[in-house]
């Protein structure tokens, strides 16, 4: 910005005032917006490095730098939660990709009775979010738990199954469009060459649709990572919690004394996400707008 000012200084006063009126004011404004955007993030970093580990002294930003909170994380179940989140999110992502891709392939490549009604039904079903039906999810899992505890309340497998229930509705359309963009002639050529339909699917189609598989996996992981209501209902005991449930519990019980732990945990858990986001920024921006422009 200082360079800019120097350059401007050499210009005539009228041009300079015009520059200020049209472009210059955007820099101070950007600083204000950036402050609004970043201040909470700076604050949480400062709170995580604070020695006291409570909310009380956290307003004096960076008054002391210590890693006590990060060390204290090791004495809690925080890392178990991280593991649980990765397990639940990872399994959901893999399952959603496998099921969604297979269904999209069937809808895209086969012509069968009930294909159109099936697509329409999926479109309608996905409009009704599973989270609103959490009461019956709870009742269903309670009943299933009496039969098979692994499918009942307080089981990660059950939670994964619940998430996967929403996988087909959410992802099939996304993938269906992408599968359609791959020419059918390729399948036919492979078929003539003697490939089985399983070979066509696994060896030919799947490598070609990798980008959409990655997108669906990421979306499924993020939604499992961020889900709170279902995870809170299903996972009861602290050693089964995901990050969302566990960290909520920290903040809702004795917010003041757990603040340092929360801040450190938030930094640890969000850094990979931030790094990934910034690395993929180009694609995310592109993806968002491509989706939006296509409507």
């Amino acid at each position: 910005m200082s360079e800019q000012t120097l350059k401007v200084a050499r210009r005539s006063p009228t041009r300079r005032s015009r520059w200020w009126a049209e472009v210059g004011w955007k820099y101070p404004l950007a600083a204000v917006i950036a402050f609004y955007a970043i201040f909470p993030l700076i604050y949480v970093l400062s709170a995580s490095l604070s020695d006291s580990g409570t909310l009380t002294g956290s307003s004096n930003l960076f008054s002391d730098i210590s890693f006590a909170n990060y060390q204290a994380l090791g004495e809690t179940t925080f890392w178990t939660w991280v593991g649980n989140t990765l397990i639940v999110g990872g399994a959901t992502a893999v399952g959603a990709v496998l099921m969604g891709a297979a269904a999209a392939y069937a809808f895209s490549r086969f012509r069968f009775k009930g294909r159109r009604p099936g697509l329409t039904t999926l479109l309608i079903v996905q409009m009704f979010p599973q989270t609103v039906a959490f009461v019956s999810v709870f009742l269903l899992l309670t009943a299933l738990g009496n039969v098979a505890p692994a499918l009942g309340i307080n089981s990660k497998i059950a939670l994964i199954c619940v998430y996967l229930g929403g996988a087909l509705g959410a992802n099939t359309f996304l993938m269906y469009g992408f599968f359609n963009s791959i020419p059918k002639e390729m399948d036919e050529a492979a078929k003539i060459d003697g490939a089985t339909h399983a070979q066509i699917y696994w060896r030919l189609i799947m490598p070609l649709v990798t980008p959409i598989l990655a997108v669906v996996a990421l979306l499924a992981f993020i939604s499992a990572f961020g889900d709170f209501i279902l995870a809170k209902i299903v996972l009861v005991s602290p050693d089964q919690w995901t990050l969302a449930v566990g960290m909520y519990q920290w903040v809702s019980n004795q917010l003041t004394s757990n603040w340092g732990l929360f801040a450190a945990g938030a930094v640890v858990a969000s850094l990979p996400v931030l790094a990934l986001f910034l690395a993929l920024q180009k694609y995310i921006v592109g993806g968002l707008t491509a989706g939006s422009v296509k409507g």
């Binding site: 917006i33 392939y105 009704f128 959490f134 009742l139 986001f277």
Partner: protein, 537 residues
Amino acid sequence: MSKDTAVAVKQPGQHPEPRVSHARNVRGMGWGFVVKLLVMAVINALGISIIMSAFNVEAWVILGASVVLLVVADVVYFTKRAMPLKYMLPGLVFLFVFQIFTLGYTGYVAFTNYGTGHAGSEQQAVDAALIQAEHRVPDSVSYPLAVVRDGDTIGFAINDDGFVEVGTADEPLAPVNGAAVDANETPTEVPGWEIVPRGDLFTDQDLQNTVVNLRVPVSDDAEDGSIRTREGQTGAIYKSTMDWNPEAQTLTDTETGTVYEASASGNFVAEDGTMLPTGWVVTVGFDNFQRAVTDTALAGPLLKVTLWTFAFAILTVLTSFGLGLLFAMIYNDQRVKGRRFIRTLFILPYAFPAFMSALLWRGMLNKEFGVINDLFFFGADINWLGDEWLARFAILWVNLWLSYPYWFLVCTGALQALSGETMEAAKIDGAGRWRQFRSITLPLLMVSTAPLAIASFAFNFNNFTIIYMLTEGGPAFPGTSGLGATDILISAIYKISGVSGGVADYGLASALSIIVFVIVGIISAVAFRQTRKLEEI
């Protein structure tokens, strides 16, 4: 799974060319087939074990559904027909069980009185009433008793005058041969059972609870009562003072003579109006929906909650869309240097996980120690999350913080996709800035962003996370509803349902879920038509 096998199996008669079909056969039976066989073996094993345990706990619906699913899976994967189903079945199974079923079940529960006090069948309610009224028979003998176990099953072994008898909650007492007793006549060895050491009863709280609550029927006839124990050493016969008459559907208290009749609302009610605590599930028609609008304790708060839900969702979309669009228009300017850097700074809140943002702001907005009050309001004790209107404002503020970057990105992309020529033409025609924005930029922008805005509205309509993490719906309304000023419908449903503990009312909660479904359905339908309409521009 493979076509080659199909050729080999189907047509040996027509094309007796063993050389070709043999070679193909070998390849067709390759590792793909082995994998399929292994996967199906595992699925069948799991399915059968679920079916068997469903049989054991008498869960007939689950049993039936599992049998059907397993048969369908085997038919689909071991016949040549239904090729598309081979690909869709896994997803369909999860879709049916965990989404379509739950949606349908919500619809059913909404018309019942399912909840605390109405959780099972009428028979279960009768059993509960009988057990509730069980008392030790006056002056009855107490038997030396030992707690026994077989795997997870806990039972009692009693010494009935020299004969050792064993029973569990499901199996009435039956004599066993070859048991041994010690000097106190307590059974010390029971064939087929493992004696639980008395020490375990003191150390294991769960076991202790199980033992104290365990009732071992004396015989198949419930009237004979059951053996129960207080301390795990002696047992006595307990009999119910209630008498169940299945024909008349009445329970009679033999001590007081009170007669409780089964009512249509799923309770046993005496003539004077007293009710037994345990009822059963019955369908109640539109009662739940009616209660939501007429119940004096509930209707007022629910109306406020509904209004706030709409206000929250609409204002969130408007503010974040507006701010995002404004920033996008300001910084979609070639003359601004370092736009990439500026953009990265602007969208950082979007990269921070949403639930953590809500929790983070909860601390920042804390009344006494929060950084917002300390740094920006000179240490004033502003009760951001405790005051009705401030809390609503705080929710909107935080949601704005974490969602404007999305709109900033979307609008930047959409603006860049707008054709420069149209703008040029408008400029030449003498349109001012405002006119350009109103008549060209905004309508064109809406084509691509309106569907996203409606999706965002629907998402925020059910945005449980931010509400619950930031304020938990508080501050509470006066009264007994348990709802609060910032509760939206879904968090209200969460509180009413009682899934997190407390008094449960699944019926009312499901009825409200249905209402939310209807609203969301209407929004989606409108969105669908709107998208079509806008695209015609």
